[in-house]
Symmetry: C2
Subunit: 201 residues, 2 copies
């Protein structure tokens, strides 16, 4: 195998891209360092220079999903009114889920690698959750952590469920009026706003 | 292969159980009529007596999940007060999701079989959704279909998201206060109640 001074960094990056491809094509169960090496046409040992185990590579793939998700949420239209900003955040969340189904599944429908610690993954996942926490702190005008986390869990649940259901087969077979699917997203946003208001009344 | 008069019915049933096992052990991608035949120790052709394609068998496996889900929801504690009944329904939903993760995934996280019509599957899935619709018709004191369907989509989204997130790895790495996970479920129920009340105020 030809080597250059640059090659190790390129291989490290190439492993992430190849892992992403393996998962996209054959599912997460098919991911192994051996399979990544095969795809890249390098020796079976080569990926081990950069990733101690398959789980370390998977953690890096997942971390990048959270990183790109955070960037996408940060690019939303921002509003001074925190309720408006929450709605905008929800829309950006649903847009990412719909336009990046594989990345979305990797973040939230995939068991995290267990066999090693992955602080960078935890850091970038927490960063995404903190975007929601920060908007909620403005909605509440306070920073009481448990209150914010409970509301964050409610809103995250609703967004995650909606994103999943909009992609599922089931909802298209439930004999709903034709107007309903197109109205679901704004309705859910309005219900979240109503739920949040009910806490202050 | 020895045959008895009873055998065909038994084989039909055995195929469903074997398909369930294949999915549990190796994932839905591994399901094929050939694999089911292998598991049962019958000829490759035998399952075709009862299921025209692999998708027909999968549809029957999924249908039974909806059937058993409906039975579980119907066994919830019933309340005359429709808001209480809605809360009870939500709890029964989350209990089923947590105690039957495979069945739950098959219903809501699996693409439905496409290559054939499966009216029994649609009927039993719609029956589950109608349980929620019926409670909501009592909450609203009306039967305006689009309103009920929109609220049903909001509540289903929230329940589905919560069920999924409670089983996900992510929520255990977000630096939440220890008290939060145990309080999430009642908090979400309370937020749904608040959202529903806000529509009438």
């Amino acid at each position: 195998m030809p080597k250059t001074a640059k090659e190790p960094v390129e291989l490290k990056e190439a492993c992430v891209l190849a892992a992403h491809e393996v998962i996209a094509e054959r599912g997460i169960e098919a991911l192994s360092l051996r399979e990544v090496a095969r795809k890249l046409g390098v020796s079976h040992q080569a990926p081990y220079r950069h990733y101690a185990t398959r789980d370390h590579l998977l953690a890096e793939v997942m971390r990048r999903c959270f990183e790109s998700f955070a960037q996408s949420l940060d690019k939303r239209e921002h509003f001074d009114d925190p309720s408006e900003d929450l709605r905008s955040l929800g829309q950006a969340y649903l847009h990412f889920a719909a336009s990046h189904p594989l990345e979305y599944r990797l973040m939230f429908n995939t068991p995290w690698p267990e066999k090693a610690d992955h602080p960078a993954l935890v850091r970038d996942a927490t960063h995404v959750f903190n975007i929601l926490r920060n908007v909620l702190a403005r909605v509440h005008g306070s920073s009481k952590k448990a209150t914010i986390d409970l509301d964050a869990m409610f809103i995250w649940s609703t967004m995650h469920g909606l994103a999943s259901i909009m992609q599922s087969s089931a909802m298209h077979h439930l004999d709903m009026q034709k107007s309903v699917p197109g109205r679901v997203m704004p309705h859910v946003m309005e219900m979240i706003r109503g739920a949040m208001s009910s806490r202050h009344s």
